[in-house]
């Protein structure tokens, strides 16, 4: 018997009733997911192509697009809620793709206390959110976008540039000064310790962007302009000679320890690609689950998975994009292969069921919920079986 086809709830919807057919969304969509029906003139959304970057949502003048994640109302409500907690007049809106840690933000913008708002692409934040923040009493808005050619959604960062320019003009007229919103750009790249490099050439072979090459003599050399920070080379380097800005091995290790300590058994640790799963703004997991966001599933390091098991985690779940959706030139395919290899080895000691790799996409939010729920149940069952 074939399984019944269940229509999945999509994360983005275009409401025909409100659509004025202005085509702004169509011209901005980086993935050609919005089409115009030649016969009827209607604007159509092809959800399978949509990557839920939210650019169309942020730009639609008719508010005809509904989005599940980070819609303006939710963002504004969230800011209202957290503003007293941070007790600061500065707001930093940053893209997860290039946001450094708090100390890094401090260095970039020269703000010591701030309200952090981290989203997958700042291009999705509509004008109304900026204005609402200022109305709320925020005195300084700092925006951290990715370097333009580093933007995972292609047009998110350039659009942010134009948006900030227009908003600043408007705010100046309203008497908020010339630069009420400060825009900076950033990107996170690979770091190499050539003293540790053994010239095996794996980084040069696997880099999806041709950013790595091997100098003989000398070792691995990186063209940082070409590096897009997926972390694939870092996770495979046999000599542990590479690291990635903001996703350093040590930093992830510290995070693993902290999260494991605050979880209750049976513990499930998730390594998720930040483009595969968009977490809710203040979304907390239950006591048994914690997650670590990574720039791509390719950054998932065997070392950190095994470290989690060593520290008593019951199960490790990897959430990746499918190869077609991968924002890093199909690096998620390589990630899937590495996990298969590790699973084979875990099988030899009977731990294979405690590691799972799944491909999900934010366009279907329930897909991820289901994967997590199923895996958590599996780990619960396994640990019950152990106790018997």
């Amino acid at each position: 018997m074939s399984e019944p086809v269940i229509e999945q709830k999509a994360a983005l919807k275009l409401d025909e009733q409100y659509c004025s057919r202005c085509s702004i969304c169509r011209s901005l969509c980086p993935f050609e997911a919005i089409k115009k029906d030649v016969e009827t003139g209607k604007t159509l959304l092809e959800i399978e192509k949509c990557q839920v970057c939210g650019i169309c949502y942020s730009a639609c003048p008719a508010r005809a697009i509904d989005i599940t994640y980070y819609d303006s109302d939710s963002l504004i409500k969230y800011l209202e809620k957290v503003k007293p907690k941070y007790d600061s007049g500065a707001l930093v809106i940053m893209c997860k793709g290039s946001a450094p840690d708090f100390a890094g933000v401090e260095r970039l913008f020269g703000v010591s206390k701030f309200i952090p708002l981290s989203v997958p692409c700042v291009g999705r934040v509509a004008d109304e959110v900026f204005l609402a923040a200022i109305a709320m009493g925020v005195r300084e808005i700092c925006v951290l976008a990715c370097d333009e050619d580093y933007c995972r959604f292609d047009r998110g960062s350039p659009l942010t540039g134009r948006r900030v320019l227009a908003l600043n003009r408007l705010l100046e007229q309203l008497g908020y000064g010339r630069e009420a919103i400060i825009l900076k750009r950033n990107s996170l790249k690979v770091k190499v310790d050539r003293d540790l490099c053994i010239s095996c050439g794996n980084c040069a072979f696997y880099c999806p962007y041709g950013a790595a090459s091997l100098e003989s003599p000398g070792g691995a050399k990186f063209d940082l302009d070409a590096c897009r920070g997926c972390g694939l080379c870092v996770a495979i380097c046999p000599a542990i000679a590479l690291d990635l800005d903001n996703w350093e091995r040590e930093r992830i290790s510290t995070l693993v320890s902290r999260l494991v300590a605050e979880m209750k058994s049976p513990k499930v640790l998730v390594f998720r690609c930040q483009w595969a799963v968009f977490p809710p703004l203040d979304g907390q997991f239950g006591p048994n689950v914690r997650a670590i966001d990574l720039p791509c599933a390719a950054r998932v390091d065997t070392f950190h998975i095994l470290e989690a098991f060593q520290k008593g985690v019951g199960g490790v779940l990897i959430a990746a994009c499918s190869e077609e959706d991968c924002k890093q030139e199909k690096a998620s395919g390589k990630a899937s292969h590495s996990i298969t290899v590790l699973k084979e080895r875990l099988k030899q000691i009977g731990l294979q069921d405690r590691l799972h790799f799944c491909s999900v996409a934010p366009r279907y939010p329930e897909q991820w919920d289901k994967e997590l729920q199923q895996f958590s149940q599996r780990i619960k069952d396994i640990s019950k079986g152990r106790r018997k």
Binding site: L196, I198, C200, N202, F205, I236, C237, P238, A239, I240, T302, F303, L306, E307, F309, Q310, R345, L346, Q348, I349, G350, L351
Partner: protein
């Protein structure tokens, strides 16, 4: 490169079971991917997890050597690490294991790899394949650069045997017939007459087991 494959974890766990303080020594040379520091660390983590399930609590130290087949390099990398170590698990080929064994006569050395052949890697295909038998009497110049000793299942010097089907060996159908490859290459180079030359039995005495550099 010398090509090795991981031993099953069970076998390694069995071999280390009498000991508790263990040094895992990687080798940065030869095989792909190199069994260097990352593999040494990964193996220590897997063995620790496997040990716990067996009720054993192992203590691991990990290190790596540029080339374990070089006794000088191996000695200088390992000697400072040996205090309290009861056994060394080597991630190198059989040569590396024996280098360590000779350097530390009182210490048991355990291999974590099975050594298979001298071969080449097809990275796109993700395959490692035997290319050289180290026979000590290289005939590649006459064979269009393809070694029949290694790549012909029968090791024929005067091939082909006639058993190949569709270019594949009759003994292992997933393997190309080395003699067909030799024929094709010599044909391309216009040197096909060479295939008719009679090649007398090889001189097995040419194979050395000890040389001076």
């Amino acid at each position: 490169m010398i090509v090795t494959a991981q031993k099953p974890l069970d076998e390694i766990l069995d071999s280390i079971s009498p000991y508790s303080s263990i040094l895992i020594a990687g080798c940065d040379g030869c095989t792909q991917p190199p069994r260097g520091l990352r593999e040494a660390k990964t193996l220590s983590q897997l063995l620790e997890l496997g040990g716990k399930l067996r009720g054993k609590d192992f203590q691991f130290k990990v290190t790596t050597v540029v080339k374990q087949c070089d006794s000088f390099l191996t000695a200088s990398a390992l000697k400072p690490q040996m205090e309290g170590v009861e056994t060394v698990v080597s991630l190198a080929c059989g040569v590396g294991v024996q280098t360590i064994a000779e350097l530390f006569p009182d210490l048991p050395v355990l291999p974590a790899q099975n050594t298979h052949f001298i071969g080449a890697e097809d990275r796109e295909g993700g395959i490692l394949e035997a290319r050289c038998t180290a026979c000590g009497d290289c005939i590649l110049a006459r064979m269009g650069g393809i070694c029949p000793i290694t790549r012909c299942a029968k090791g024929l010097l005067n091939g082909a045997c006639g058993g190949a089907k569709d270019g594949k060996c009759e003994l292992s159908p997933d393997k190309d017939c080395a003699w067909e490859l030799i024929f094709q290459r010599l044909e391309k180079q216009g040197k096909l007459d060479r295939i008719r030359e009679f090649r007398p039995p090889r001189n097995y005495q040419a194979k050395a087991w000890r040389l001076t550099p």
